[in-house]
Amino acid sequence: MSWLIDFWHMIWPHLGRGLLVTLKLSGGALLIGFLLGLPTALIRVYGSPWAKRLATLYVDVFRGTPLLVQLFFIYYGLADPHLTTLAESIGLPPSLLVLPPMTAAYAALGLNSGAYQAEYFRGAIQAVSGGQMMAARALGMSRWQAIRHIVLPQALRIAIPPWSNEAAYLVKYTSVVYIIAVPDLFGEARRIMSVHYNQMIMLPFVGFIYLLMVLFITWVMGKVEAALRIPGLEMEEQERF
């Protein structure tokens, strides 16, 4: 028993710190992704042709390339001396391109999640729009009023299940950031393993912590979904064929 307690005292200060970093990264990236994803989705459905093209380009690039490549590009690629010299020559501070690991991690995960969230929101908006939009406009609402009062309240509800899926993915994906020396949960675990060679204990243990986080998110989002359910609609959903 005392061995277990000693072990716990040895790993917990590190893992606890790492867990905090992982939670901050997950929350931050989900928030950044939401703030990028929702406008991107709205532009893809309602925007002008040029804005649509730009939004589609963003989604395609960040959904179509590996997260690791994006992370490396933002952390190492932007810090390229040619680029920093160029930035300096046009009067920008080169530090703008040489990002601290944590900032690069937020940027990569946030941009990546934003592209996925944009697709979930777009699908939800398109599922609602049409008749609902037409009825709102027929009453005299502006397009923005219709989006805000009629389309979004319904679309965001529809987007809850795919969104919680994205949240579950993201928590686990944050583990790639150890590779640019961000001391997240997995990064800390790796450091402990490299000193103590106890991966047969550490890996299941760390995996279990991720599992708990994902289960917690699933549980919370399930509660949110139930609380926001529109009466009268769930009956159709429960129909079995």
Binding site: G131, Q132, M134, A135, A136, R137, A138, L139, G140, M141, S142, Q145, H149, I150, P153, Q154, R157, I230, P231, G232, L233, M235, E236
Partner: protein
């Protein structure tokens, strides 16, 4: 002569290769109930949607209360606010109760204070016989009830004219009556109405004028007695014959 509530002049509209409206002109006077009949795909719904510019005509003009809807830079939201519209598939706002659906226009478009809008909405729900369903969501209402709420929602804006786009076509037969009853009440109260429908009983009983449209043009128009008992065109006769076969005799409808 008084100014018509709706005036449509030489309206043309095409979707790709398909010219849906081929020069339609029409006037609706205050208090008039005009029913548009005709085979499906002949531009009746498109014509209705051109009145409040849900569909933008390629050429031609539309005026509502003398104000040109089709003029450039017109504030279309202001004009739409005085044109009520009822759709075939109701399009009630699914996340709002019946009461909030009816409050939507007054609160968000007219910026009416919530309390005042609530009273107005309750009054409109009473008018369509659904005051007891104020707190029900659309998913908890029958099709006929949904359509009556949709009518109340349009009425709450105090419209100058009501457009009905096949309001009973999506309803089970036993629910059609309650919607038609509400529409008949409206006609009795001298609401100006432009109605696309296959309900010949309603057309005969309530309308002042019937318009028979086919293939993007008005083939024939006139008072219901003329169209039903003495149609001038062969196509009108054929259509009415077929419709009676399908929907039963106009007398009983």
């Amino acid at each position: 002569m008084t100014q018509p509530i709706v005036r449509i002049e030489e309206l043309h509209k095409r979707y790709g290769d398909n010219e849906v409206l081929k020069g339609v002109s029409l006037e609706v006077q205050k208090g008039e109930v005009v029913v548009i009949i005709g085979p499906s795909g002949t531009g009746k719904s498109t014509l209705l949607r051109c009145v409040n510019l849900l569909s933008r005509p390629d050429s031609g003009h539309v005026w509502v209360e003398g104000e040109e809807v089709t003029a450039p830079h017109v504030d279309i939201n202001r004009i739409r606010a005085k044109v009520g519209m009822v759709f075939q598939d109701f399009n009630l706002f699914a996340h709002l109760t019946a009461l909030k659906n009816v409050m939507a226009g007054p609160v968000w478009v007219k910026k009416m204070p919530k309390e005042e809008a609530r009273e107005l909405a309750m009054e409109e729900l009473r008018r369509v016989g659904l005051a007891d369903k104020a707190d029900a969501y659309p998913g908890q209402l029958s099709g006929g009830q949904k359509q009556r709420v949709a009518i109340a929602r349009a009425l709450a804006m105090n419209p100058k004219v009501m457009l009905f786009d096949e309001p009973t076509s999506a309803l089970d037969p036993e629910l059609i009556g309650e919607v038609l009853a509400v529409m008949k009440d409206l006609a009795r109260e001298h609401m100006t109405m432009l109605v696309v429908t296959h309900e010949m009983g309603f057309a005969k009983e309530v309308s002042n004028r019937i318009i028979f449209m086919e293939k993007g043009v008005i083939v024939e128009e006139g008072p219901p007695e003329q169209l039903f008992y003495n149609p001038q065109h062969r196509r009108t006769r054929q259509f009415l014959g077929k419709i009676t076969e399908l929907y039963g005799n106009a007398e009983t409808g």
